[in-house]
């Protein structure tokens, strides 16, 4: 499964193992006088779930939106699949294979699952929509993600549960030969069982060779599903650690104080960051 999918997403197995899929170096971003991102270095690997954690205002959204091309970074290098790229629009990000699933999912309730997955990128034969091919590909993508919770891909999205909606939004993101999927708080609005389903889906995405960036406030989710954890603290990336090397409370310390024992900022830098 892993090798097949890695080939499908255009990665040679060696590249997926060694070189980061996405590599940001020295990223800065300011809005007016507010310096939101300060010399951020960030890596994300194919086949791995990278959790991006940080308190409100730490700069998570800014980092994500920069990666997705909603606004460009002020300075720093953006290397994707080993090549320096310039991403100045969401379209450019999509063309590289970077898809974002935002917290509000951006689904049209009045359309069915297939229509939503192909929204804005409908397949056509001549003038008319190619409904059969779209439905077939939607079904294949969903079953490729081992999604069994949807009764029919022709169900209107308004009839789906929160977890099912999240599933549809994620499936839409991977439909387009994408290589990196960014998930913004995918479990925030879900119950226990549905959270479990979505986390399993997140794990399967990575196992199939995609790079996954997971933004979450929920430490249980982060510890359960991620391979590495990157902590942002007041605009600085203070630590990027393997999930198995840290425990729950260390991550919380990194988020709230910027340091935890030997991890994160040196003590004096942590104080400066606040000032």
């Amino acid at each position: 499964m892993t090798t097949d999918a890695a080939t499908a997403s255009g990665l040679s197995p060696t590249l997926a193992e060694n070189e980061p899929l996405l590599s940001l170096r020295g990223i800065n971003k300011s809005f007016g006088v507010i310096h939101v991102l300060k010399d951020v270095d960030f890596d994300c690997y194919a086949g791995k779930v990278t959790a991006l954690v940080g308190d409100n205002g730490a700069g998570k959204s800014t980092l994500i939106k920069g990666i997705a091309g909603i606004y460009p970074f002020d300075s720093g290098s953006y290397v994707f699949q080993g090549e320096e790229v310039h991403v100045h629009s969401p379209k450019a990000a999509s063309a590289l294979g970077i898809e974002v699933v935002y917290q509000d999912l951006a689904l049209c309730d009045n359309l069915d699952v297939v229509h939503n997955m192909f929204l804005g990128r409908e397949l056509k034969t001549g003038l008319t929509l190619d409904e059969t091919t779209m439905e077939r590909r939607a079904t294949e993508t969903l079953s490729g993600l081992s999604v069994r919770t949807l009764k029919s891909v022709r169900t209107q999205v308004s009839r789906l549960s929160g977890g099912q909606r999240q599933t549809v939004a994620i499936a839409r993101a991977v439909l387009w030969n994408s290589k990196l999927v960014i998930l913004d708080e995918p479990t925030a609005a879900l119950g226990v069982a549905q959270t479990e389903q979505v986390l399993q889906l997140v794990r399967r995405l990575a196992d199939s060779g995609l790079g996954v960036i997971l933004i979450s406030h929920n430490m249980n989710d982060v510890m359960q599903v991620s391979d590495t954890i990157a902590a942002l603290y007041l605009g600085q990336l203070v630590a990027h650690v393997r999930a198995q090397d840290v425990n729950n409370s260390q991550v919380v310390e990194l988020i709230t104080a910027g340091r935890s024992g030997d991890l994160g900022l040196p003590p004096e830098a942590a104080k400066e960051a606040v000032a």
Binding site: C108, D109, K124, E135, T139, S146, R159
Partner: protein, 424 residues
Amino acid sequence: MTTTTAEVTGAGTPEPEHESTGATLRSAISDYFAKLRGGDVGALPAVLGFVALVILFSALRPDTFATRLNWANLLNQSAAVIFIAMGLVFVLLLGEIDLSAGFTAGTSAVILAVLMTQQGWSWYTAAVVALLAGAAIGLAIGMLVAWLGIPSFVVTLAAFLALQGVMLAIIGSGGTIPIRDETILKIMNNQMSPTLSWAMWVVVVVGYALVVLLGLRSRRAAGLPVGSPVLPLLRVLVLAVLLGAVVVLFNQERSINPALKSLKGVPVIVPVTVAFVVVLTFVLSRTSFGRHVYAVGGNAEAARRAGINVNRVKIACFMIGSTLAAFGGILLASRDNSVSPSTGGAQTLLYAVGAAVIGGTSLFGGKGRVIDAIVGGLVVAVIANGLPLITQKSEIQFIITGLVLLLAAVVDALSRRRAAVTGR
């Protein structure tokens, strides 16, 4: 052809369903009732309302309402409203409204009349200019709504007033311009021969059956689940019977004095309307533009993020709406044999909005079909035609018509709440 993760892994190609026809039919029926309970009532209230009203009026006024001549009248009275309503469906799908549609029709009718009768233009150049005028009005409204973000309610209310002024300015107050052109008059005043009427029946029924069968075949060929073929074929049968009944009804002599002038056959406006319904339904349900219209009406922000040019879709819908209103204006001119400053005024707009909403198009956007305008338009026409036969008092007619429109809006709002409750 791009490859997806799923295609390469090749997991879980769906098995074609092998359930027995009876079981799938039963599940199709139970799905339908689940949809109704979920608040998605579609055109059902309008169809039931139409049947109930026809029975009511026929029982109360058998010798004036349920006559062959009056059935033809009914179509004549409803045609323009139906065309304006078909245009409004596009605007309502966005969650917007066009209050100026009635006077857009009027303005186009005035332009048609002035160009033909006073300037001596041929009917087709005059008609093209009238339709272009409609498109231009829609373009202006659409740009103001999409680019400046003014609520469509305000923009079209302004247009509602201004267009009345334009009509008065062109005609001069109290003036009436007669229409003498044969072709324009024929649209609303002529009928096809009985043979041609049956030919129309064959074309429509066979055409619809072909679309249904080809759709089923391509799904089967692609290995997608194919529900029971009984239900779609039942729809073909229902269409065949209903349209057949219309043809039988209109193919009988309906002239009061057949010796003087024979009146037989389906009115010309029927095939014209059918052609528009087919084309517009195709646009809304089979093209990416149509899909984008629903997307913008359902969740404009999601549509924008999916890369859809929301402003362009909005402007296009207002243009389609106003152009269809302009066509309705030509029908009004044809029906009345003349154009006056009140053409397209009075209840025209309210009837058109009522037609679309009664037919099942939502005022909240994202839900509606072109055919809704037909079903709703016929309900409105039956009320407008039948009420005066029962009571001469216009105060009662106004109140009842108002209540019917309100009732349709209530059904719309309730079904929306119901959908919100059962959605999760």
